[in-house]
């Protein structure tokens, strides 16, 4: 599987990743490192603990990493959650709507990780 094919399979934006990291070699290097990135785990843990500040930190970190890797969908959904918990701002979404978004984010994340693992297995 090429990097480009990986991005197609996980719904990532290869062009965006290429614009930032410039070489497939680097995209490949960092997308594999994403497997060890702790941002999602932080978000998930804070979510379970209903820790608003922790949710913001985790979502904010995940949003940044995903943006730099061209993982646009993940970046957009983590951004939504991040803004919901930004310190000093009022919540806009209902708990149900928020839970639905978090579920979607978890599913997107799982699909992405699965795709990257498959890519890793081929390296």
């Amino acid at each position: 599987m090429t990097v480009q094919e990986l991005y197609a399979s996980i719904g990532g934006n290869y062009d965006s990743a290429k614009r930032i990291l410039q070489m497939d070699k680097l995209i490949s290097k960092f997308i594999l490192k994403f497997l060890n990135d702790a941002s999602f785990d932080k978000l998930a843990t804070a979510w379970e603990a209903k820790d608003g500040a922790g949710i913001f930190d985790g979502a904010h970190a995940l949003k940044g990493v995903c943006a730099n890797l061209g993982l646009d969908a993940l970046s957009a959904s983590s951004s939504e959650i991040c803004e919901e918990f930004r310190p000093g701002t009022a919540r806009k979404l209902s708990d149900e709507a928020l839970s639905a978004r978090m579920d979607k984010l978890k599913a997107d994340y799982a699909r992405t990780i699965e795709g990257i693992r498959a890519f890793e297995a081929e390296q």
Binding site: S16, D37, A61, K63
Partner: protein
């Protein structure tokens, strides 16, 4: 990095402060080809890196939200430390909320980039911020004098002129300070000591001046300070702390003050006025402060007027050469004359040589004037020869400035030859004090003149700086004894110093001329002492050419009255 590498190609160091390892690594990877990259995972470690590498870091890339110490806290602490304050910071944020941006800018951030990074935009912003900081640092170096922390001369002048332009109705005073004998001090105590001294003096004066606006170092040991106008003069008594003079022995600092400065003047003109006041009290023991006053202003205006008209005056032959006869005591006839210049200006009337000669020596015009005088003297000698009048030697004065002309001896020889004048008829008068300026050059030129057949007269012997070394080193023919000695001798009826001077001259086979002789008693005494020539009002005042020729016809070869 190789030595001598162009500074523009120098690899700068940037500090990346970002808690997310992935983002940090991506950024480091993107920057590694152009920069040395330091990393920190939060604000606290970022500050530690700044502490460790403060002199190296050219720019900081800073994440906003981080644990321990976030971007805001980092900025707050950074801007409080003068070592770090000027290092530019680019904030990196995934969420470009306006509130965050405003807060970061208020805390001193220079710019923003949002994630995902646009590498080209990011690198260009980094470059321009680094360039901006480096050029302001360079400007800062030009603005301030690194030794004293005062403004540099250029920046002081610029600031002064700008201020006077902006605030036309405000009243200011300018204070200049000058350390007397600073060069001697430098030789004696060394540069390091003198640097410390210069710094402490700048601090002391800055601290004592009332309503100080700013100060500049406008010369190696000259400072200028602009202060709000002071109505009373009492403040000048405390320009240096009490006891300062006692602790600094022979070092004296003189102050010149120009009050209520004229807004129309240039900064250099304003500072000139204050330094002119200092010049008035230079070497004057016990007087350390002087004010620029009307008398100085009038003198400056007069000098300005002289400088405006001097060239025209020369071309219009306003300078007239007068001749004062020298009486030969052995033959009792006129044995020579001294050429003296007079300037009668149609606009300014009679101008004393004491006024224009020092000015011409400063501005170099004396070279033109002296050549003019020498030529007039050659013409006069030629005229006497052609008219069958007695032809006697005429002495002309040379200035220390004339000795800067590379072939002075050859130029004078060419001039004399053009008019067919025997070189022995032209005597060159120089003052003894000139010898201290450039002894080697002066001795060589005099030797060349002497070997060309010109006679050399040493003027003003006994006035001020008499040194037996110069008598021994210079090629001389005649010693002119200063009029102060004859006045003193006549007043006390004690001719012993004059006797010594004539004996000294005799021992060195030099002829003597005594100037300033006014009475028959003085003539009789000098005759007994064995002087050769006498010049003074007793025989004649300086005469214009026509009267001089009549005097020659009447007195040469005949016994005087």
């Amino acid at each position: 990095m190789a030595n001598g590498q162009n500074i523009m190609q120098k690899r700068r160091t940037v500090l990346v402060v970002e808690d997310n390892e992935m983002n940090r690594e991506i950024l480091c990877e993107l920057l590694a080809d152009e920069y040395n990259v330091l990393e920190a995972e939060n604000g606290l470690t970022g500050l530690e890196q700044m502490e460790k590498h403060s002199g190296e870091i050219a720019l900081v890339m800073l994440d906003v939200y981080m644990p321990e110490c976030d971007g805001f806290a980092f900025l707050e602490r950074k801007c409080r430390d003068p070592r770090f304050d000027t290092i530019p910071v680019i904030m990196m944020t995934a969420s470009n909320t306006v509130e965050d941006e405003i807060r970061c800018l208020e805390l001193g951030a220079s710019d923003f980039i949002t994630k995902p990074y646009n590498v080209e935009i990011m690198k260009n912003r980094m470059k321009s911020l680094i360039r901006l900081r480096e050029s302001s640092a360079m400007l800062g170096r030009l603005e301030s004098d690194s030794l004293t922390g005062l403004f540099s001369k250029e920046f002081f002048y610029h600031s002064l002129e700008e201020l006077l332009k902006v605030d036309a109705d405000a009243h200011y005073d300018l204070v200049c300070s000058d350390i007397e004998n600073f060069r001697v001090m430098n030789d004696r105590y060394g540069t390091a000591y003198c640097d410390r001294f210069l710094r402490s003096i700048a601090d002391e004066i800055s601290g004592s001046l009332p309503n100080l606006l700013f100060g500049g170092r406008i010369g190696p040991d000259v400072y200028a300070f602009l202060i709000g106008h002071q109505e009373q003069n009492g403040w000048t008594e405390h320009l240096l702390p009490d006891g300062w003079q006692e602790n600094h022995g022979k070092i004296t600092i003189k102050f010149g003050i120009y009050t209520d400065v004229d807004h129309e003047l240039t900064a250099a003109g304003i500072c000139d006025r204050a330094t002119l006041a200092i010049a008035k009290i230079k070497k004057k023991f016990g007087t350390d402060v002087a004010w620029y006053d009307d008398e100085m202003r009038n003198m400056q205006l007069r000098e300005h007027q002289i400088e405006q008209t001097m060239e025209r005056a020369l071309s219009e032959r306003q300078f007239v050469v007068y001749y004062q006869p020298k009486h030969d005591l052995h033959t009792d006839t006129t044995g020579g004359a001294e050429a003296l210049v007079r300037w009668i200006s149609p606009e300014m009337g009679f101008i004393s040589p004491g006024q224009f000669i020092p000015l011409f020596e400063r501005n170099g015009f004396i070279i033109n004037l002296d050549f003019y005088i020498w030529e007039e003297v050659c013409k006069e000698l030629r005229h006497c020869m052609d008219e069958g009048l007695p032809v006697i030697p005429i002495s002309v004065n040379v200035s220390r400035v004339d000795f800067e002309v590379p072939d002075l001896a050859a130029d004078i020889a060419v001039l004399a030859d053009r008019y067919g004048i025997d070189h022995a008829l032209l005597h060159i008068e120089l003052t003894e004090s000139m010898y201290s300026d450039n002894p080697g050059q002066i001795a060589r030129t005099l030797a060349a003149l002497h070997s060309n057949g010109f006679y050399i007269e040493l003027d003003d012997f006994g006035a001020g700086y008499s040194s037996l070394t110069s008598l021994n080193t210079l090629t001389l023919d005649i010693m002119k004894i200063d009029m102060s000695l004859i006045r003193q001798a006549a007043a006390t009826n004690d001719y012993s110093i004059l006797r010594f001077a004539t004996l000294l001259a005799d021992g060195m086979r030099l002829k003597t001329v005594v100037e300033g002789v006014e009475t028959a008693e003085q003539v009789a005494a000098l005759k007994v002492l064995g002087c050769d020539y006498i010049q003074g009002y007793y025989f004649s005042k300086p005469l214009p050419p026509k009267e001089y020729e009549e005097y020659l016809a009447a007195h040469c070869g005949k016994e005087s009255a």
